[in-house]
C-alpha cells in the first residue's frame, strides 16, 4: 500500500469514531435525568410551566432523543455549541479564548518530556545495569507513580514558597507570549510533562536495549564506525519509532493532566474552564470541551499513525 493510500484509508476510518465520540458525549448528558431546564426550574421556582416548555423548545430539549441529537450535532458541525447559560456568551468563543493557554502548557510539557527522557533513555540503555541506569529507572518509576496534582503542590511548596524562585500563581489574564508568562509556565509545564517523560524514558531504554542487540549494530561497529555514530545515527533513529507509537497515548494523558494541573496552578486554560463549568452545571461548555478533547485525541492518534507508517513501511500492510 502506498503511503497516500494508507493516509486516505486511515483518515476515513476516523469518521465512525468521531461519530461515536459525539454520541457518547451527547448520550452522557441527555440520557441522565435532569436536563438544564429542570435544574434551572429547581433554582427558580417561580418559572411557569408554559415558560418551562418554551425554554425547552428554544434550547432544543423537546422531542425524541435522536431528534435532539441531530439538532445538536448539526449545530456543532458549523461550530455552534450554544450559549453559556449564566452569561449568555457563545460557548465556542469561550473555548477559543482559553485554548492558547492550554496549548502553550501542553507543548511546554511535551518539550520538557522529550528533552529529559530521550537523553536519559539513551544513557540508561548504554549503561545498562550500572548504577546510573538503576537510578534513572528508579526516577522513571517515580515519575509514572507520582500524582501530578501532588507533584504540582510540592513544586509550589519547595520552589515558590520556601525558595521563592517562582511566582506562586499565574495571573488570570496576561499576554501569552510575554517573557513574564514563560516564567509562570515553568512549574506547571514540568508538572504536566513529568509522567510523559517517565514513560518515554522507560520505552526508550527498552527499545534501545533491544536495538543494540541487533546484527546491524554489530555490523556498524565492525566496519569501524565510532560508537557515537552507531548510537546516534543508527540505533537512536530506530528506537525513536517506538516513541512515536507512544505519542498519541501521551497526548491524551497530557490533555487529562491539564485539567488537574491547571487547577493546581490556577492556569487560565481549557482544563480549569472545564472544572468551573462542571461545578456551575454549564452543560453546553462541558459538552463542547468534552467533544473537543475527543476530536483532538483522535487527530493526535491519526497523526501518530501516519508518522509511524511513514517511518516504518511494514505497518502499512497490517
Amino acid at each position: 500500500m502506498s503511503l497516500q493510500r494508507f493516509i486516505l484509508k486511515r483518515t476515513l476510518s476516523i469518521i465512525p469514531i468521531m461519530f461515536g465520540v459525539s454520541v457518547i458525549t451527547f448520550g452522557m448528558f441527555h440520557l441522565t435525568p435532569g436536563d438544564p431546564v429542570t435544574q434551572l426550574v429547581a433554582l427558580n421556582p417561580d418559572v411557569s410551566a408554559a415558560e418551562e416548555a418554551a425554554l425547552r423548545e428554544r434550547w432544543g430539549l423537546s422531542g425524541p432523543v435522536w431528534e435532539q441529537y441531530l439538532d445538536w450535532i448539526s449545530n456543532v458541525l458549523v461550530g455552534d455549541f450554544g450559549l453559556e447559560l449564566q452569561t449568555g456568551r457563545e460557548v465556542s468563543d469561550i473555548v477559543w479564548s482559553r485554548l492558547p493557554e492550554t496549548i502553550a502548557l501542553g507543548l511546554f510539557g511535551w518539550a520538557f518530556a522529550l528533552v529529559i527522557a530521550i537523553p536519559a533513555g539513551i544513557y540508561a540503555a548504554i549503561n545498562k545495569d550500572n548504577l546510573g541506569d538503576t537510578i534513572s529507572r528508579f526516577l522513571a518509576l517515580s515519575g509514572i507513580s507520582i500524582p501530578n496534582f501532588w507533584l504540582g503542590l510540592m513544586l509550589i511548596l519547595i520552589f515558590s514558597l520556601y525558595l521563592g524562585l517562582f511566582p506562586v500563581l499565574a495571573p488570570s489574564r496576561q499576554s501569552l507570549l510575554s517573557p513574564e508568562m514563560l516564567w509562570y509556565l515553568i512549574l506547571p509545564g514540568i508538572t504536566i510533562g513529568t509522567a510523559s517523560a517517565a514513560s518515554i524514558m522507560r520505552v526508550m531504554r527498552t527499545s534501545m536495549t533491544e536495538e543494540l542487540n541487533k546484527e546491524y549494530v554489530t555490523a556498524a561497529r565492525a566496519k569501524g564506525l565510532p560508537e557515537r555514530t552507531v548510537i546516534l545515527k543508527h540505533v537512536l533513529r530506530n528506537s525513536l519509532i517506538s516513541v512515536v507509537t507512544l505519542a498519541a497515548t501521551l497526548t491524551a494523558s497530557i490533555v487529562a493532566g491539564s485539567v488537574v494541573v491547571e487547577v493546581v496552578f490556577n492556569w487560565p486554560g481549557l482544563g480549569r474552564e472545564f472544572i468551573d463549568a462542571i461545578n456551575q452545571r454549564e452543560i453546553n461548555v462541558v459538552m463542547a470541551i468534552t467533544l473537543f478533547t475527543g476530536f483532538f485525541v483522535i487527530l493526535a492518534n491519526l497523526v501518530a499513525d501516519i508518522v509511524y507508517a511513514a517511518l516504518d513501511p511494514r505497518i502499512r500492510y497490517d
Binding site: 441522565t32 500524582p147 501532588w150 478533547t293
Partner: protein, 350 residues
C-alpha cells in the same frame, strides 16, 4: 567366553552415552505423564518463584500489604451492626475535632508532635488517624475497579477476537471511541452527573475503564486462536463458549494480569484526583485526594504566616508510595511472566 561375547555383539550398533534406563521409564508413544499434565499450574508456579526472587517487587508487596492491613485495622469495622474487626490502630476517630473535648490545647494546623505525629489538619483533626483510615477508600476502590474492568474486558476481548469479522469490527470501533476520551475526563463527567460517593466513584472508573483490557485481550486471542490445540478442540466438537473460556481465555491471562496490576495505581491516582478537584467523596471524608483539596487553599499561608506543609506532604506521599509500590509489583509480575515464557522454551535443556 570372550570369544562368544564378541560373536553376540557383532552386527549391533554401539551407541555410547545412551541411557537405556531413561527410555524404559518413559511411557511409550507420547511423553505424557501425570506430572507433565500439571503444566498450567507449573507455569504459574514458575512465575511465582521468579517473582519471589525479585527483591524490589517483594519489598513493594510488603509495603502494599502493610498499608492495606494498617488501613483495615485503623478503626473498628462494623458490618450490619456486627463488629467484624475490633482493633483500632489509629489513636483518634478520623472525624474527631481534637479541640472540641479531646484536647483543648490543640489548634488548627498544629505542626507534627509526639502526640500527633503528622500534625493537625485545617479542621483540627489528627492527620495520622485520617491518613490511616483514608487508605480504605483509595485501596478498596482501586482493587474493586480493576477486578470489575479486567473481568469485563476479558470477556469482551475474547468474544471480539474469537468471532472476528463484523462483530470484531463493531466491538473494536466502540473501544476506539472510548479511547478517544482520556479516562479521567470521562470519570469526571460521570461523577459530575451522578454526584460524588463511594459507589459512584467505582462506577465512574469502571464504566469505560474496561476498554484497555478489551483491546489487549483481543490481540492475545487473535494470536492464541491460531494454535493447533484450539483447532483440535473445535475438531472434537467443543462449543464456541467452551473453546473461548477453557482454551483461549486462560492463555490470555498473563498480559491481562500485568496490565491489571499496573492499572490499580492509575485508578488510585484517578480517585485521588477527583477528590482533589472536589468531585469525589464528601469534603469531610478522609480520602487522600479529598484531604489534599481541603488544605489546598491554605498551603500558601497558614495561620501565623507559617506554611502547614504536613497537611499537604503526608496525604500525597501516601498516594505516591502506594502507587509506586503497585507499579513495582506490576513490573515484577511482568518480568516473572515473561521469564516463564522463555523458561518453557528452555525446558528441554535441563
Amino acid at each position: 567366553m570372550t570369544d562368544r561375547n564378541i560373536h553376540e555383539d557383532r552386527g549391533r550398533i554401539q551407541v555410547s552415552g545412551f541411557d537405556s534406563d531413561r527410555v524404559r521409564d518413559r511411557e511409550p508413544i507420547s511423553d505424557w505423564t501425570d506430572e507433565s499434565s500439571g503444566e498450567t499450574v507449573g507455569r504459574w508456579r514458575r512465575g511465582f518463584r521468579k517473582f519471589k526472587r525479585n527483591r524490589s517487587a517483594m519489598g513493594a508487596l510488603v509495603v502494599v500489604v502493610v498499608m492495606a492491613l494498617a488501613s483495615f485495622f485503623a478503626r473498628p469495622v462494623e458490618m450490619f451492626g456486627v463488629v467484624v474487626q475490633p482493633f483500632s490502630l489509629a489513636p483518634y476517630d478520623p472525624t474527631t475535632i481534637l479541640y472540641l473535648g479531646v484536647d483543648s490545647s490543640v489548634n488548627v494546623y498544629d505542626p507534627p508532635s509526639w502526640q500527633y505525629p503528622m500534625g493537625v489538619d485545617g479542621s483540627g483533626r489528627d492527620l495520622f488517624s485520617r491518613l490511616l483510615v483514608g487508605g480504605r477508600y483509595s485501596l478498596s476502590i482501586g482493587f474493586i475497579v480493576v477486578g470489575l474492568t479486567a473481568s469485563f474486558g476479558l470477556i469482551y476481548g475474547s468474544i471480539s477476537g474469537y468471532y472476528g469479522g463484523n462483530v470484531d469490527e463493531l466491538m473494536m470501533r466502540i473501544v476506539d471511541t472510548i479511547f478517544a476520551f482520556p479516562g479521567l475526563i470521562l470519570a469526571l463527567i460521570i461523577v459530575a452527573i451522578l454526584g460524588g460517593g463511594y459507589w459512584q466513584l467505582v462506577l465512574a472508573f469502571s464504566l469505560f475503564g474496561w476498554a484497555g483490557y478489551g483491546r489487549l485481550v483481543r490481540g492475545e486471542v487473535l494470536k492464541i486462536k491460531e494454535n493447533e490445540y484450539v483447532l483440535a478442540a473445535k475438531a472434537l466438537g467443543a462449543r464456541d463458549r467452551s473453546v473461548v473460556f477453557r482454551h483461549i481465555a486462560p492463555n490470555a491471562m498473563p498480559p491481562l494480569i500485568v496490565l491489571a496490576s499496573l492499572n490499580i495505581g492509575s485508578v488510585v491516582i484517578g480517585v485521588a484526583a477527583l477528590g482533589f478537584l472536589g468531585l469525589g467523596l464528601d469534603p469531610s471524608s478522609a480520602e487522600w485526594g479529598t484531604m489534599l483539596n481541603a488544605t489546598r487553599s491554605t498551603l500558601i499561608q497558614g495561620p501565623g504566616g507559617q506554611i502547614p506543609w504536613w497537611a499537604t506532604v503526608y496525604p500525597g506521599a501516601a498516594i505516591f508510595i502506594f502507587v509506586m509500590s503497585m507499579n513495582m509489583i506490576g513490573d515484577g509480575i511482568n518480568d516473572a511472566l515473561d521469564a516463564q515464557q522463555t523458561g518453557v522454551g528452555r525446558g528441554g535443556e535441563d
